[in-house]
């Protein structure tokens, strides 16, 4: 028997899978109905225990999914029915082995809808997955450590797959593979991890990737500073955490959301058109401070108005809070990459 113990004192019992090891993290939920492999390998989920709102997970084999990283990054997984009843040869064996190899525990048989309702009301909570239902310590901040560190390669690398002669400085703050792949299609990339000095060279654009944790983390201070120096110097683009870093570079504020946006059905609008987008963010850019610092909010969430695209056209800065690379999710916003391609040519 495994237990999911929440900050508010509640405990849920379920069947364990994956690693036999207790984990601690921030409990968040996604409403994506597919893409379980994409989600568990998404580096942005570092430090988080992920609840799948959709009740049946691992219905299709692992190899039909897309890896967003070579290993799972999520701290733990909470499922209702991870195809768990199938004794042998089921897909749950694969996901269990895969998570287990990376030390990630899962807990199955949990009433995930009730959990989602609780998170919706109480906000994201700290939680443990463990083999005991004893009292737990919730004092630690799951975002205190450097969550990005284990998700990136700690050296500067060049990716030359594109036929373009343009060069982009790709600041890797915990990038998903599909983000890097999409970028590598449109220009040659110099990939520099968030914690290394940027080579003093000329780039056609700077791109800041998605990644886990709090954008105001001390480990990102240098990136924020660097981006600030580059405003107006070259084109700047960013996705998710990238948008938050750009906003911070402008002197705008970010804030922690009640329970965040995680799913593949979020409508984003510019006041006229609507796109269905993938979201995975627990932090957001504070609207008034961004506008005060000269960032235009050109797209926002159709339901709660959260800034989803920021632009400073004069300085050629454009970034999105959502995930144009989708994976998982709809491909409505793949055009973001085409836009970068076009702007690089201009």
């Amino acid at each position: 028997m495994y237990y999911l113990t929440l900050e508010d004192g509640s405990t849920y019992a379920g069947t364990g899978f994956g690693a036999f090891k207790p984990v601690y993290g921030e409990l968040v939920f996604t409403t994506s109905m597919t893409g379980y492999l994409e989600s568990v390998t998404d580096p942005s989920y570092r430090g988080q225990i992920l609840v799948f709102a959709f009740p049946t997970i691992a219905n299709y084999p692992l190899n039909k999914g897309k890896m967003e990283s070579t290993i799972p990054h999520v701290a733990g997984v909470v499922t209702k029915d991870a195809h768990a009843r199938i004794p042998l040869g089921g897909f749950s064996d694969e996901i269990s082995a895969f998570l287990g190899s990376a030390g990630v525990p899962g807990i199955d048989g949990i009433e995930t809808r009730s959990l989602v309702r609780k998170i919706r009301e109480r906000g994201s909570m700290r939680a443990w997955i463990s083999q005991s239902d004893e009292k737990k310590d919730f004092s630690g901040d799951p975002f205190a450590e450097d969550l990005i560190y284990p998700t990136v390669t700690h050296s500067i690398s060049e990716i030359r797959k594109s036929t373009s002669d343009k060069r982009i400085l790709f600041i890797n703050a915990g990038s998903k593979k599909s983000v890097m792949d999409n970028m590598a299609d449109l220009a040659n990339l110099t990939v520099v991890p968030y914690d290394m000095e940027v080579p003093d060279e000329r780039y056609d654009a700077i791109f800041i990737s998605n990644g886990p944790g709090n954008p105001e983390s001390p480990y990102l201070q240098n990136v924020v500073k660097y981006v600030r120096t580059m405003i107006g110097e070259t084109k700047i683009y960013g996705i998710c955490l990238g948008q938050q870093i750009i906003a911070l570079a402008y002197g705008a504020k970010t804030y922690k959301m009640h329970f965040g946006h995680r799913g593949s059905n979020h409508a984003v609008t510019d006041g006229k058109a609507v796109k269905i987008t993938t979201h995975n963010h627990g932090f957001a850019v504070d609207k008034p401070s961004a506008e005060a610092r000269g960032l235009k909010i050109s797209e926002w969430d159709a339901n709660d108005g959260t800034p989803e695209k920021l632009e400073d056209p004069k300085n050629m800065v454009r970034c999105v809070q959502y995930h144009p690379e989708a994976s998982p999710g709809p491909h409505d916003t793949l055009g973001f990459f085409d836009m970068i391609r076009k702007e690089l040519k201009a």
Binding site: S32, T34, T56, E111, A267, N303
Partner: protein, 1057 residues
């Protein structure tokens, strides 16, 4: 863009009578559209000849035309009403076809707009060749296809690859006309046959993509080019089975995100290329091995699938897409379910739904194969927290013999063929096969179902295997968590369902109820649309109101229990709400208006079985319940509900009185004791009884059991041996219940009497007279309400009879009485203490809100009694039959109902009403120059009148040899025509091909071989849309009216009162 203010009055075209492929789902989408118009302050003008619909009710539409859907009628309405625009996307293929016809005749322009997708784009979506060209131009893969015609098909076929192909005709409805040929030889044979019969037609031949996974997407696009996908649905049955015939799970279960998004992106590309405005359904076939997909089909309108998707996700597609037609864009519309989020989003589900079609094989004897043509008449949806629970709830909702016991108990060979060839029993064969030890992989190979689904079913089978005989299973909780119904548990444990239900209630093993909110609980939803599950916690306390009533819906659309009953339950919830009650609807039919969360205060989407109804009663703290509008479903469970919760919770006639009516022998004795007449009858308790009875009672006889056996509760028997066989069958199943045999009253007039009462006082709302003699099922008869159709004396007698029955059975609310009258008196055939099939028709013919007034009486409300209304016009209800879909079955009518729906022809004169009715039933038939007559010996004298009328109007009579000779003897000239087997020409087939035949009068002797003789004639006529009149009385009436060519006029319903 906000609302287009140029629009004021909109014509909505409905889908007409319920047929296979077009049923209640268009009443739902049409009603939603009307209400959306009303919400925007526009006037809705509705055209639909289907009286059973709720959309033709004043509470939904502003102006109502119950008239045939044809160009001349539409023109009249547009002129009379001053219509600005037409909506054709909520009335199925019928409405779309009507709009296309309007377009071709140049009716649309600046003063009359077609809202939504343009006719040019509709044509691109509907015409296979154009559609394939469009798909190729945007690089979307389609199966290879060819167009064949009579001149060049031989050479064309020689050039194509030897694969399997689907052959269909264009503009098909519910997949009709599509067949699969497995190689070029069979294609050649098929073409030879088809083109010899239809030399002017074209055939579309398409590479078959059988065996691939079929997936559907429900899309919405607005005029600002915003596109969203409401949901995707995965068919369990692979390609080769029409999606309407397939078991369908929402959302898809075995597809990866990559596969889903690949098709979603394609769907968006397609709706953009077609410039769709509003709703659109797109079907794909995906080959997961090669990661390739094909675009199969597009429906540029709301469809059966969009109704299903609306109910499965909570996103009201028809309502939102109507707003889009009126000018709004998605971001300007609110999500009506959550009320606090935008309509521009894609629903996220945290539950699973399974749809299973409901087939009419219990009513129509035919082989049980299913395929690319639709044969099902309705569907059910189960909602659960996992696939197993959803599947089992869907199975429970089917309400068939198999749904209650799960197993077929077939030998291995039969099972193998049931698994291999698509048929209605396949899902049960999978259970049987797993129980008998076949592996999931083997079954997956045989059925083409994804192994995932079979493994899920294996989970259920594993739990069932732990049930031991004679006691409540120890794993009851596990069984319930897999959705296994109490009746199935009872079957395997050899207990009574009632005892399992009772045990659960007493031991507190009850489900919790969750809210359907479109968003996986991410946002709070204020709409109480609920489903039960044995997973998780209750999300909504019972409503605190004291005055609340559960209204039972009628479950899946099926022959004998269709849309008419949904009309009743929707009207009932409205009436109860206006009487100050809170209403709670229980139903499992995703197509209907009753399962629209807007129509009741609370909606429980649940199977209509004892178990689930009892659970809801329990959950809501034992409120009142109304079963009058659930057809036979509620009647069957009334006594058991009363045993648990008492008779006093029932509004309307009490369960014990219902029992005295439903139990055939008790009823026969009671009406005998009350001094009322009934046809000579006998009660049979064993075979020996039966033989003596047949010596006493004249054949033919009607045999009735108190229960439905083999799908039938009633049989008409012309032959002694058939009779004995049927009685044996009934007695073997229910040895403790006697069988009632009654004489068939020939030469009498049958009438339906619908009345409302409060246990002593009553009001007769309508007396409809059948055109056919007694013996044809009342649902299959042409029936008429109109002035002076019955004598004052008959009316007086009927009033007396109804009075006796009301007091004898303490009837409260709505009831329906069927009688047969002849010179010797009025005989009672049947009494139903519930709303009947004729209620919507009677309401629309009299203008009385029968349901509302009936409910007032049932509630004992002290309303001044209404006056009986004598109709001022003629209202002729005509049945619509599905025979074309069942080539093996005969078109002859019997006491077992066969029609799927009905149309209503209304006229100021009887001739106008009958002519309109005939047009509704036979839209493509014109009064031509000739008519074929072929009748059995016994009926020959009876046809003389009709033939004389035909002759007077200079109609050429073709007659088969016997009939020809008889007419000659009577001095009437006819042209001799031969039957197919006669080896002489001209044959009937020659005539059907070359002459303008407007009807065939075929009256076979019900005994012996002429039934078989006529069979071929009837099938052939049906294939060519030539009406076959098999009843002398209706033939006479219809033909004489048609020949008078009465003036046809379209009128708002009120001008008929």
């Amino acid at each position: 863009m906000p609302l287009n203010h140029e629009l004021k009055k909109i014509l909505l075209i409905g889908s007409g009578p319920v047929v296979i492929g077009q049923a209640a789902e268009f009443d739902y989408s049409g009603s939603q559209a009307s209400l959306a118009l009303r919400e925007e302050g526009l006037v809705s003008v509705l055209l639909n000849p289907n009286p059973a619909t709720i959309q033709t009710d004043r509470s939904i539409a502003d102006r109502i035309y119950i008239e045939p859907i044809s160009l001349d009628i539409i023109k009249m309405i547009i002129e009379k009403e001053g219509i600005d625009a037409v909506i054709s996307s909520v009335g199925g293929q019928t409405a779309l076809n009507a709009a296309m016809e309007m377009h071709r005749s140049g009716m649309f322009g600046p003063h009359l707009r077609l809202l939504g997708t343009s006719p040019e784009d509709i044509e691109k979506a509907e015409n296979r060749t154009m559609f394939h060209e469009l798909m190729k131009s945007i690089n979307e893969p389609v199966p290879e296809s060819f167009l064949l015609n009579a001149q060049s098909y031989v050479s064309s076929i020689s050039e194509i690859q030897d694969k399997s192909y689907i052959v269909r005709t264009s503009f098909s409805l519910g997949g009709s006309g599509g067949i699969i040929v497995n190689n070029l030889d069979s294609l050649r044979t098929y073409c030879d046959e088809f083109f010899s019969e239809n030399p002017l037609e074209n055939l579309e031949v398409e590479q078959s993509i059988q065996g691939l996974i079929e997936v559907e997407y429900e899309m919405i696009r607005d005029s600002a080019d915003n596109c969203i996908s409401i949901c995707n649905m995965e068919n369990l049955d692979p390609m080769g089975v029409h999606t309407g015939e397939s078991i369908v799970v929402t959302p898809s279960q075995t597809l990866s995100d990559h596969e889903i998004q690949m098709m979603r992106s394609a769907a968006i590309k397609i709706v953009r290329a077609l410039h769709i405005i509003g709703a659109c359904n797109i079907q794909f076939a995906i080959d997961v091995v090669s990661d390739k997909y094909y675009v199969v089909e597009v429906n540029p309108r709301t469809s059966r699938s969009s109704a299903l998707a609306s109910k499965a996700t909570g996103y009201p597609i028809a309502r939102i897409s109507t707003k889009i037609l009126l000018g709004y864009n998605l971001p300007e519309i609110n999500n009506p379910l959550t009320k606090n989020t935008s309509a521009s989003f894609e629903p996220s589900l945290d539950y699973i739904t399974v749809k299973i079609p409901r087939w009419p094989f219990d009513k129509i004897s035919s082989n049980r194969k299913i395929g690319v043509q639709m044969r099902s008449v309705g569907e059910v949806m189960g909602i659960g927290a996992n696939f197993e629970e959803a599947l089992m709830k869907a199975i429970a909702s089917l309400d068939t013999t198999e749904s209650r016991r799960l197993r077929l108990y077939k030998p291995r060979n039969d099972l193998l063929s049931l698994l291999r060839e698509p048929n209605d029993l396949r899902i049960f064969a999978i259970f049987d096969a797993l129980i008998s030890g076949m592996t999931a992989i083997e079954i997956s190979n045989l059925t083409g179902y994804q192994v995932y689904f079979i493994q899920k079913i294996q989970n259920i089978v594993n739990e069932i295997a732990r049930i031991s005989i004679g006691s409540i299973p120890e794993n009851l909780q596990e069984l319930k968590r897999l959705g296994v119904s109490d009746s199935i548990i009872a079957h395997f444990a050899r207990l009574d369902e009632f005892d399992v239900v009772k045990y659960r209630l007493v031991s507190g093993l009850i489900p919790s109820y969750r809210v359907i909110d479109t968003c996986s609980a991410e946002f709070a939803s204020s709409t109480p649309y609920l489903y039960s599950t044995y997973h998780g916690t209750d999300e909504l306390p019972p409503s605190p109101k004291k005055n609340k009533v559960i209204v039972l819906g009628s479950g899946p659309n099926r022959i004998s229990q269709g849309l008419e009953f949904d009309y009743g339950s929707v009207k009932a919830t409205g009436a109860l709400i206006s009487a100050g009650f809170e209403t709670i609807m229980v139903n499992s039919n995703p197509e209907t208006v009753s399962t629209d969360f807007d129509f009741s205060n609370r909606l429980y989407f649940e199977p209509l079985t004892l178990e689930h109804v009892v659970n809801v009663i329990h959950k809501e703290g034992i409120p009142k319940i109304m079963i009058q509008f659930s057809g036979q479903t509620g009647q069957n469970m009334a006594m058991k509900i009363a045993d648990l919760f008492g008779e006093e919770i029932f509004l309307g006639t009490s369960p014990s009185d219902i029992y005295r009516i439903e139990e055939r022998t008790k009823f026969a004795n009671a009406i005998g004791a009350a001094g009322l007449l009934q046809p000579p009858f006998a009660i049979v308790r064993n075979e020996i009884d039966a033989e003596t009875v047949f010596e006493r009672i004249r054949l033919p006889v009607i045999i009735r059991s108190s229960f439905i056996i083999g799908g039938r509760s009633m049989d008409i028997v012309y032959d002694l041996r058939d009779g004995i066989r049927r009685i044996k069958e009934i007695l073997a199943t229910y040895p403790e219940h006697p069988v009632l045999i009654s004489e068939y009253l020939s030469n009498s007039v049958e009438m339906d009497v619908d009345f409302i009462s409060n246990g002593s006082k009553f009001l007769i709302c309508g007396i409809s007279v059948h055109l056919e003699e007694a013996g044809t099922h009342s649902g299959d008869a042409i029936s008429i309400l109109g002035p002076s159709l019955i004598s004052d004396e008959t009316r007086k007698d009927l009033t007396k009879i109804v009075g006796v029955l009301v007091r004898e059975f303490r009837l409260k609310g709505l009831s329906n009485l069927q009688v047969a009258a002849n010179s010797t008196g009025i005989y009672i055939i049947e009494l139903n203490a519930r709303s009947s099939r004729s209620i919507p028709y009677v309401s629309k013919a009299t203008g009385i809100d029968v349901v509302k007034e009936g409910i007032k009486m049932a509630l004992g409300m002290n309303n001044p009694l209404l006056e009986a209304v004598e109709p001022r016009s003629y209202f002729c209800k005509i049945p619509i039959f599905p025979f074309k879909r069942f080539p093996e079955s005969d078109v002859l009518l019997s006491p077992e109902m066969k029609s799927t729906g009905e149309g209503l022809g209304i006229g100021k004169t009887l001739d106008e009403a009958l002519t309109k009715a005939f047009r509704i039933q036979n839209p493509s038939s014109n009064i031509g120059e000739s008519c074929i007559v072929s009748v059995a010996e016994a009926y020959k004298p009876a046809i003389l009148d009709v033939v004389k009328v035909l002759k007077q109007e200079a109609v050429t009579i073709f007659a088969t040899p016997g009939t020809h000779a008889f007419l000659k003897q009577n001095g009437i000239n006819s042209v001799l025509v031969f039957k197919i087997g006669d080896q002489r020409r001209p044959t009937i087939r020659d005539l059907l091909e070359n002459q303008d035949i407007f009807a065939i009068i075929n009256l076979p002797d019900r005994r012996g071989s002429t039934v078989a003789d006529g069979f071929e004639i009837r099938r052939m006529a049906l294939g060519r849309n030539v009406p076959v009149l098999t009843n002398i009385r209706s033939a006479k009436a219809l033909i004489s009216s048609l020949l008078k060519k009465p003036k046809i006029e379209a009128r708002e319903i009120v001008s008929y009162y």
